[in-house]
Subunit: 350 residues, 3 copies
């Protein structure tokens, strides 16, 4: 995995411009504090600009116009993105195709494309289709008639239930569950009659599902996660939800049934969302908020129930002063009563 590149080669790879010595050899990456002379680092946040002066890094990724303090720099529009791309270049590699390994349980009717690895302990059901170059780790269970796209990674003990469809380049972290039964019951007087959950889940391309997160299958149609959307760990998406494209759903968020979430939405950690509502595009919801009704797009919200984020900040600042306010109101009440008495007295006297 260890390789060495010149600054010039890295600049070509990134579409960046070298300032300084293009021939410096780079064999790794580090932070401004930890990178040594054979490593490249990056400056993304201007507030750390002064740290560039002290860095021992061999080269620095920075935006055009930054002060390089005599260091060699590669100028790129998005230094953070460039750093991520170099991490990929230096530290990752395509998984070697190992085929169906001994100890894997694969149904005879499953169709497994070329370049795929299926580890021991994985179980692939009837009529499952798995695309090219996908990697299925130990303990993964794929139920009958499910479809997995190309270049997917299903980490250990993740589960895809019957008929669900996973797009290309999707990643399931360990323990992720796709297609568990939606939580639907019809009260029958005595208790709850379970409503068969006969729908499916569709993950579009480039979706990532975090460790131990759950996406329930629809009651009769489709629970859908849009292209490029990322779910962090321990997230719950209930049946019939439609999540848009390029959303960031942070850890421990829960989204109730039949809710629609637009594109480019960020739900911060532990947010709860009610069922049967709609969240508009480009919405940002602050951590632990409770979304009880539909939210118009292009705005930020916080609180439980949610209100515009700035208003929530202001009200939250007042919350710790409630005891004082209560006391003040009570004292004002007394002072007013006294004023009224005195004024009545004066009126009478006049």
């Amino acid at each position: 995995m260890k390789q060495t590149k010149t600054v010039s080669e890295l600049a070509d790879h990134l579409g960046g411009v070298v300032e300084g010595d293009p021939d410096i050899l780079i064999s790794g990456l580090g932070t401004l504090e930890t990178a040594g002379p054979e490593a490249i680092t990056f400056l993304a946040n201007p507030k750390y600009a002064a740290k560039v002066e002290q860095t021992s890094a061999g080269a620095v990724l920075m935006a055009p116009g930054g002060e390089r303090f005599g260091h060699t720099a590669i100028l790129v529009d998005n230094p953070y993105l460039a750093f991520a791309k170099l991490l990929t270049l230096f530290y990752t590699s395509t998984h070697e195709a190992l085929g169906i390994m001994p100890g894997a349980n694969v149904s005879d009717s499953a169709v497994i494309a070329e370049g795929t690895t299926i580890y021991p302990g994985a179980c692939i059901g009837k009529n499952v289709k798995i695309g090219s170059r996908s990697v299925i780790y130990p303990g993964v269970a794929i139920y009958e008639n499910a479809v997995i796209g190309d270049d997917c990674t299903l980490h250990a003990n993740s589960v895809v239930r019957e008929r669900c469809r996973i797009g290309n380049r999707c990643i399931l972290q360990p323990g992720a569950v796709i297609g568990s039964d939606g939580f639907g019951y019809a009260p029958d007087g005595n208790g709850y009659y379970p409503i068969p959950q006969i729908g499916i889940v569709i993950l579009e391309d480039d979706v990532e599902i975090g460790a131990n997160s759950c996406v329930d299958r629809a009651a009769i149609e489709v629970t859908r996660i849009g292209r490029g959307t990322k779910l962090d760990n321990l997230v719950q998406v209930a049946h019939n939800c439609k999540i848009g494209e390029q959303c960031m759903i942070v850890s421990q968020v829960g989204i109730s049934g039949s809710t629609t979430v637009g594109n480019h939405v960020t739900l911060a950690g532990q947010v709860g969302v009610a069922g049967h509502i709609t969240i508009g595009d480009n919405v940002l919801v602050g951590g632990q908020s409770g979304v009880a009704s539909s939210l118009p797009g292009n705005a930020s919200y916080s609180g439980s129930p949610t209100i515009p984020h700035k208003e929530w900040l202001k009200s939250s600042m007042v919350f710790p002063r409630l005891p004082e306010i209560k006391k003040t109101v009570a004292s004002l009440e007394k002072r007013i009563a006294e004023l009224e008495n005195r004024l009545n007295q004066i009126s009478k006297e006049n």
Copy 2:
């Protein structure tokens, strides 16, 4: 799985009454919007009554007295329940008994009843008992001396630890964990001494546990989930809890140790419940609420800490106006001081 029934046959199945043509052939189900002429739909919520006029469905399930707009109808007391029963009729089937499949690891001392399926990758420990017609999916681990009832479904990678007892017709969604060690430690001055958790979990009949939910074993006795209670995904039930019958515990709820929950209780999503308290029968707790002390039955609560739901609604409406209230109080204070001054002036003058 595909089958066709007459409206008359369906009415018999449901105990309903046909209005219109009893001989229409039905082969599936759909919503008022999506059902075609060979499908049956339902009207449960009167606010959608007008949609019946436009539906293309071959027949409609509705309550007696509804307007059927010339469509054939089956009159039933609970159209939603009837729809669920027809979903079961048309779209589900009993799992074929496949026995102990190759690749399953079953201890010689385990007792497996007839009609059961144990998929490859499942591991069944010593002296485990599994009832008739139960289905054990890949990757399920059942530890020694556990007991599983009849007609259970244990989905992939669910775990039942030693000596725990699962009733009849229970369902574990993928990744559910029954009998993990309770979180109990005795501080010993330096750190925490782990208290052996030697109790068990009992799931009574007809309990369902959602994907990746956890029910901890009791310290020395029993953590119990009552008959017919349903847990959604990612729910935590700590050691020694007693959950009553026919409860609905929605996703991401957490219940702390030694708490007792009555019958017919609904805890909405992300509710947290403190330890060593009691929640009465027929309680409804709103989403994200924090139950810090015992709650009398037959009432609704919200907030953290919880208060009666209606009071919480009212206080929540005031919360966004706190900055304004604070400002008003400050200005009132000034105006009162001014009034007092003026009145003192007048008093002096008189």
Copy 3:
């Protein structure tokens, strides 16, 4: 497992002092209510002191100075800890070493120490090292180059990803995930470019991770859980966090990326912690709180955002009275306006 000891032997084991009959035979443990004459019980909380009178237990663990009501007692400084130690003595046993069992998948290059058990269905990757007397339950997946210490217990379907390091005497409850990819993406204009998460997780000695909890690997360095720290079920620890020693992280807590938590910190259930902040030593955070910024040590906090716990309690008591306060303020406003009018009238008249 069943064994019998005299009170005198138990006192020796605990370093306690017998009052009463040292020869009573004890073969089990129970609560003050449930223990019979062959069982020992304990009194830890003085408020239950009166229950000692009625207990049928053969002996009672209690602190010096307690009233034993004629029962035989073992006096110890910490009766709760002593009880836990006797639970260990009576009810637990070292797991018998079963070696690599048939149906386990162990890479040829893995190094497995003596006295270890690897159950069927477990998968051990290349170059993995597992220490002495560790127990690896069914369905556990350990990725390549991971290291597991001595005397560890990895329960069914837990996962340790590549290169992560687990100390000695660590416990992973079922479904726990160590080393899932951190949630890191660089926006690239269209969507999100995944940042390779090339770091690892280190669990120091005596760490316990609850069922279905997740600890993400660092982006480029280490996510660390300190010695003796216990995580309950369904906890999320994001990438690059440093959690100190002897912390108690209760169920469903979520800690965002790059946050540092001190030693002896307790985070109660469902607490959320923002990223890139620091929580000091000996902090206690109340259930469901939201820690939005760094917290100084040696204090208790609650609320979302957190404030000192006592202030939060007071403000929470006022919250239900907000509608009344709002009403009062409005009425005060009217009364003041009226006073002002009357006073203006008087001034004019004078």
